[in-house]
Symmetry: C2
Subunit: 567 residues, 2 copies
């Protein structure tokens, strides 16, 4: 340690930046490390903003404190980590030839030029706003910064707003929707495209929309914001593309983010096709002495191999750690890429996903795929199990799992984490079909939901089961197709709720004795289902055993039916 200590400058003090700085410090007590942070706070728990805004907890300090209760301010960084943190300071430019960063202290206007040996760019992303009239009215917020969280929390505490609109039906949009709902505000989520939560395939997206609508918030799809309406500079409503006007005193914009890459671009660093800073697997930019990580970069999909944007807090931390290692020991750590995993709580529902949806897989050129939709409980009924509805996507040739989406009141999080690891391990359906998972009734069915998904997939891949989606069934019914629809539940279940699509009820136990009620034409299309289509599948096997050749199981059964039902 007799040589000159390495000088590290980190631009950005939210997630990836402080993580890189702290990791570098742990590997080199003598490095000179400086963080330049535009905002007033450091290492904010930004994913917690919706829960603070919604009143899940009230102590704002929890967003900026260590678990031991120490505020993560400049003093903390100095004392605990010997890292100089310059807050309210904006990085203005990078001089790569001179290896300096010029920054400005925003309150005083004073500028300062910092030399570096290694530089980290963790400039994050900026919330996009629709560029429509009225976008500067008072009452239009986003939920990106701690200031935004404070503003939204103040709305809750003031109890003045009665109607709000959330612009954007993605993860953040629904987290905000939940926060507003918890604040007692009547909320409408507006989504420009035809479906909310674009990482879900249509059937599951519709089920979530149904749930949200019946549990306290409205959703308008296929309709963007044409204008924000106001009086005296204050928001009074939102006008949609189709002319509808929704009165509201608050609008929260959550249509996505744009990587903050202008500083990097101005320094001549390579920017990717998606607008993020290009980095290699070491998180190194086109300048080997400059690393970048977090929301401002593009990553590699471990499934499609394509470049993608993945602005998630967990990935920012992982990337920051990799950067921290490489700052001290160049080339020692890699960030291989992402598997597109995400999760969101919406009221008592969870929506999770990992890998690719069928739509995303096809868009990525994977055409030889198979999908299954499966409904089932997370734990046994006698333990008060709750519903899960999932869709699994696999490559038909290799059997490799490509994606998994899961929604419902059940324990989605566990199944998505399990499948995220399965996808990371490039497991096939055959592997999953015999997975040795932790089973006890408080935690799982004897055959866990993800194993059942694999079993159904195996049955489809082997041609034992022909599936048909609820979407296709609805289209068939609406088109007046000549298919025979068979509900195989018990009379009691049928009395309680039925689809009302011209179905015939023959309970499973009676099917073999009532085969004469089935269509005499053995080539006629028969669609079978039950509550979740397990009995439906068994009945399809029976019919095939007696010679019917065109029997399809409606996947997910009644539980997956996102259209109106009778009773």
């Amino acid at each position: 340690m007799s040589s000159q200590p390495i000088r590290i400058v980190v631009i950005g003090g939210s997630a990836a930046g402080p993580k890189a700085a702290a990791k570098a410090r742990r590997l080199d007590e003598h490095a000179a490390i400086t963080i330049i942070q535009k905002e007033a706070d450091l290492s904010m728990a930004s994913c917690g903003y919706p829960y603070y805004a919604g009143g899940v907890f009230d102590d704002r300090n929890l967003l900026i404190c260590t678990p031991a209760g120490i505020v993560r301010d400049s003093g903390f960084f100095e004392k605990a980590k010997r890292i100089e943190a310059l807050v309210l300071t904006e990085a203005l430019s990078i001089d790569r030839a001179a290896k300096t960063v010029t920054c400005k202290h925003l309150p005083s206007g004073a500028t300062r030029t910092l030399p570096y040996d290694k530089l980290v760019i963790a400039t994050g992303a900026t919330t996009l706003y629709p560029s429509v009239p009225g976008a500067d009215l008072e009452g239009i917020l986003s939920l990106h910064s701690l200031e935004d969280a404070d503003a939204l929390r103040a709305v809750r505490d003031a109890k003045q707003v009665r109607n709000a609109v959330v612009v954007g039906g993605g993860l953040i949009g629904f987290e905000v929707c939940e926060a507003l709902h918890l604040a007692g505000i009547q909320t409408t989520v507006i989504e420009k495209t035809a479906a909310i939560l674009p990482f879900l395939d249509a059937e599951l997206s519709k089920l979530v929309a149904n749930y949200v609508r019946t549990h306290g918030a409205d959703i308008i799809k296929g309709n963007g914001v044409a204008a924000f309406l106001g009086e005296d500079g204050k928001l009074t409503g939102v006008k949609l593309d189709n002319g509808t006007e929704l009165p509201c005193e608050l609008a929260v914009v959550a249509v996505g983010v744009r990587p903050n890459a202008t500083l990097a671009a101005a320094a001549g660093l390579t920017i990717g096709a998606l607008g993020g800073i290009a980095v290699n697997e070491f998180m190194q930019t086109s300048d080997p002495d400059i690393y970048a990580g977090g929301d401002c970069v593009e990553c590699t999909s471990l499934i499609s191999g394509a470049k993608v944007r993945a602005p998630y807090g967990d990935l920012a931390n992982l990337q920051g750690r990799v950067i921290g290692e490489n700052l001290i020991t160049e080339g020692s750590a890699k960030f291989p890429g992402v598997t597109h995993t995400g999760i969101c709580k919406i009221f008592d529902y969870t929506v999770g996903f990992t890998g690719l949806s069928a739509e995303q897989a096809r868009a990525a050129g994977m055409t030889d795929i198979e999908t299954v939709t499966v409904a089932g409980l997370d734990i046994p009924g006698y333990m008060n199990g709750k519903l899960l509805v999932s869709k699994m996507v696999a490559d038909r040739k290799t059997g490799r799992v490509l994606g998994f989406q899961c929604i419902g009141p059940g324990d989605v999080s566990k199944r998505v984490a399990t499948m995220a690891m399965a996808i990371r391990g490039q497991l096939t359906i055959a592997d999953l079909a015999n997975a040795d998972l932790p089973y006890a009734p408080p935690y799982s069915l004897a055959l866990d939901h993800v194993i059942v998904c694999a079993h159904v997939m195996e049955n489809k891949l082997l041609g034992r089961m022909k599936g048909i989606s609820v979407t296709e069934v609805k289209a068939r019914v609406d088109a007046g197709a000549d298919c025979f629809i068979l509900d195989t539940r018990t009379p009691r279940e049928f009395e309680e709720q039925r689809l009302g699509i011209g179905e015939t009820l023959i309970p499973q136990g009676a099917l073999r004795a009532r085969l004469n009620e089935l269509p005499p034409d053995k080539d006629r299309e028969i669609i079978v289902y039950c509550a979740i289509s397990l009995r439906g599948y068994e009945c399809a096997a029976i019919l095939q055993g007696y010679g019917w050749r065109n029997v399809k199981v409606m996947e997910g059964g009644v539980a997956a039916w996102p259209y109106p039902r009778e009773r």
Copy 2:
């Protein structure tokens, strides 16, 4: 289908048997399938017995009904599955040359000989009882059959028993312990060996024991049952190996099970060294026309390659499915083996494990392993996160994860399922260190607990962190070793609770300014910790940076300390 239908006979009607039968039926509507079941019921949800006995639910029918509420009796099997189920019928012998099974209807004594083309043996296992005096006293139960569950439930409902002893500190023992506790019965668990829950390493096993003792049940370790004591034929107490007498009106035996392999052995089938029926990966016995699955067989460990016994309900179902496929299409399905995954709820704690413990790995000849013990929250503190304490085991050379144990009030089940899949995928620590898991504050920390475990492991494998277990620290302290023990928490944390092992408090933020309080001898052993040893690790890095050469982090920190604490 003009040929003679295949004749399938299945011996055993609990889990693997009915699953094999039902799967075979789905693949061949015309097969003749018969189940021979010694007990009165079929397809019982036997893993639910502790929860029925403990009053988690009251409707006994839930244990023997389909989710739609139909009792899974012979009539159901006939109508829904066209499977003949002979209940209260015992298989007496197998004639492999004639390909017949002779069975006896127990109530009538009538015998019958059934011809088979393919036979399935799913005879399960029998509860072991300690062969000690008094074992025939009234008041000694087990929890294996539905009758046992009824008996234990009757104990609860009668409210007569005040003191009970559970013999055996494994999974079932603690499930029974919880059920008795819920019934308001003062319970003592007796374990013959030195540690409860033998799939856990000692540190975690001790933490569970501490928890159970402070939450309503007693545990006596290293002491077996010498005799059951009684008066008038009724149990009045248990005498231990060391002479202690525990008064109790109820004893529940849960010391393990023995595979029911006598029928198979009498038929000349190969029995494994562990007493289970030997099967290949198709679940085929030494007679290719006879399959076996469930608690009566031995399986292959996917980690060590060794033969093991794994009497779990989920595996029985998986094996039954594989058998069902092979009955109809020989050689079409494989059960590759197990990864030693299990889980158990004990009051508000969960105990889970997958892969090998350090002790098991060493016993299997894997000597070049590394372990880490990590404590942390499952979700953020501001979301009311709960503690997890885990131990991860990895192969030092390849970095491959070999095992994971996790305990605590937090969401253990998710982490064990995640790691079970990681182990199934043969993932390495490097893979885990950048895992893309579902993150949102209701479900996880930004860096999930399992990722943090991988990070700590990586630090140890790379020699950046030297760890020391709480067990070793305690031994050092008890031996009066000349080590300097450093607690790096805040004064407030220290005031609330401290270990009292001669430690010096220097909060992390003050460490660099107080280096003069550290031992001047840079080779002296320094042991550092904090609440969970994250700050402890950072402080160890600081001390190493200033030249101390023998700094060790006490893994898991205060949260993993299973010995008495001050205050």
